[in-house]
């Protein structure tokens, strides 16, 4: 089956935040009164943007980036949530297999039961998306992030439904379909925008990290939206997972085999020496 994707068209988005509400509602993240104690830091920060950050119970939020256009205040709206990378740093560093690639759609799926709370995904994600509710003293934690509505028991895709955020979007700024189709559609949309005079319009996510499963139509550079221009799996993650860890297994194995060999040889040598000593007596 072909990879699936979400296409977010920032030029159609009105930032109604229906997606935010639908996401919380469907994924049962709406039970908390938004307070810091409940993990949602909802306070007025001098912007329409709210809450100010993702959390374990806020998997999607709209970012408002203020810009000046023709002397007037304007916004760039950015959908901030898991980008479902094809080459995902979080999957690479997750020690428990709690984060994995969904075979059917290519999404970065998540099995919360398997998460042991190490938080490596939080620190290695190039988009700064996963969040944990970590107890600083005991270290007990659980991560949470967008599962693209594939959470077991709440799986909309298996039921033939679109993700909740897409379903809720009134101006159709969010679309869900085969990834190939959406890439083509996104490119077409970029051409239209360019023809309308938006020369910096671009499609974000086609090739980033071998292809994101959330594609963005932007009217200016990703930078202007607060998105990383060239997101990468951190070099440390590659050095750690692909070099140091295999080396560690080899070293560990060689040590144990070497010690075993040493025991066999050294015991023989000792017995021989004792026998020689006896003979000399």
């Amino acid at each position: 089956m072909a990879d699936k994707a979400i296409l977010f068209d920032s030029t159609r988005c009105t930032a109604c935040r229906g997606c935010q509400a639908a996401c919380k509602n469907w994924n049962e993240n709406d039970e908390n009164i938004p307070t810091v104690e409940n993990g949602v830091d909802a306070r007025n920060t001098g912007s329409y943007e709210n809450p100010p950050d993702l959390s374990t119970s806020t998997w999607l939020r709209m970012r408002f980036t203020e810009v000046e256009r023709q002397g007037k205040l304007s916004w760039f709206f950015t959908r901030v949530s898991c980008m479902h990378c094809t080459d995902a740093a979080c999957v690479k560093v997750c020690p428990d297999g709690a984060l994995f690639y969904d075979d059917l759609t290519g999404f970065v799926a998540y099995d919360k039961d398997l998460c042991t709370g190490c938080g490596y995904c939080v620190e290695f994600c190039p988009f700064d998306v996963p969040r944990t509710d970590r107890n600083v003293i005991t270290g007990l934690a659980k991560m949470d992030k967008c599962t693209l509505c594939t959470t077991p028991g709440l799986n909309r895709l298996d039921a033939g439904e679109k993700p909740a955020c897409v379903k809720a979007c009134p101006p159709k700024a969010l679309l869900y379909d085969d990834r190939d189709k959406l890439v083509a559609l996104g490119k077409q949309r970029v051409q239209t925008l360019k023809a309308a005079g938006l020369n910096n319009a671009n499609l974000y996510g086609e090739n980033e990290l071998d292809g994101l499963h959330v594609l963005y139509v932007l009217e200016d550079s990703p930078d202007a939206y607060g998105l990383p221009v060239d997101p990468k799996v951190p070099g440390v993650a590659i050095a750690w997972q692909d070099i140091i860890q295999p080396l560690g297994w080899i070293m560990g194995g060689a040590t144990i085999v070497g010690l075993g060999l040493n025991y066999l040889v050294a015991r023989q040598a000792k017995i021989r020496k004792e026998q020689t000593a006896k003979k000399e007596e």
Partner: protein, 216 residues
């Protein structure tokens, strides 16, 4: 009965066992992070709590030892980093001895032989690295830039691999190797026979027999 020489005082032995126990717990609760098939053990995060309890013991025990046994600690640390031409000779002769029982080329050793000094300096350096990177990962996670945290995890893992492998070597030499007949006794009872001291730590034996036997 043959003459016994004190090799490790009680405080040193207690520190050794406490530190080893803490390290084994840290090693096993850390190891589950490298074998996805074992991750079910870590579910619920109890291994993380255990890892932290052991980490406190691992970090605090040596500090207490140093505070109450300053002279011995100073001597011990100095010993780890005192290296000379004799050590090169030892390294060259060691395979012949440890495999083929050929003692002829082994230079007489001090209180610690070259191999023991290697392990001891690894314990000091990587032990400190463990504690330092661990403190960052435990308490400063929310404050640190992501890149710093990533390197902390990296070096924590490097320390894990080096000390983990060397721990096998250490246990093997202390308990299993056919020629290390009194190593286990020296760390449990604290003494070795004069005969063992003479053949394994010739230089130390000479010094120790000159003054009143004391050990480190």
């Amino acid at each position: 009965m043959a003459q016994e020489i004190v090799r490790y005082r009680k405080a040193t032995r207690v520190l050794h066992h406490v530190h080893t126990a803490a390290f084994v717990v840290l090693f096993l609760t850390g190891l589950v992070l490298f074998i996805p098939q074992l991750s079910f053990i870590a579910q619920g995060g109890w291994t993380r709590v255990l890892h932290r309890i052991a980490a406190v013991i691992f970090a605090v025990a040596p500090v207490l030892y140093v505070l109450f046994n300053w002279e011995a600690a100073k001597k011990g640390i100095k010993e780890a980093f005192t290296w000379g031409a004799e050590d090169i000779k030892w390294l060259k002769a060691a395979p012949g001895y440890y495999f083929f029982n050929d003692e002829s080329k082994m230079p007489p050793q001090g209180h610690m032989n070259t191999g023991q000094k290697m392990w001891w300096s690894i314990v000091l350096v990587f032990g400190a690295l463990f504690v330092l990177t661990g403190i960052f990962m435990w308490f400063l996670k929310d404050i640190l830039p992501a890149a710093t945290f990533q390197w902390m995890v990296f070096f924590h893992d490097v320390s894990f691999i080096v000390t983990g492998c060397m721990l096998f070597v250490h246990i093997y030499l202390g308990v299993i190797h056919p020629l290390m007949t009194e190593a286990w006794k020296s760390i449990t009872k604290g003494t070795v026979s004069a005969e063992y001291a003479k053949s394994h730590h010739g230089k130390w034996f000479k010094e120790a027999s000159k003054r009143k036997p004391k050990g480190a």
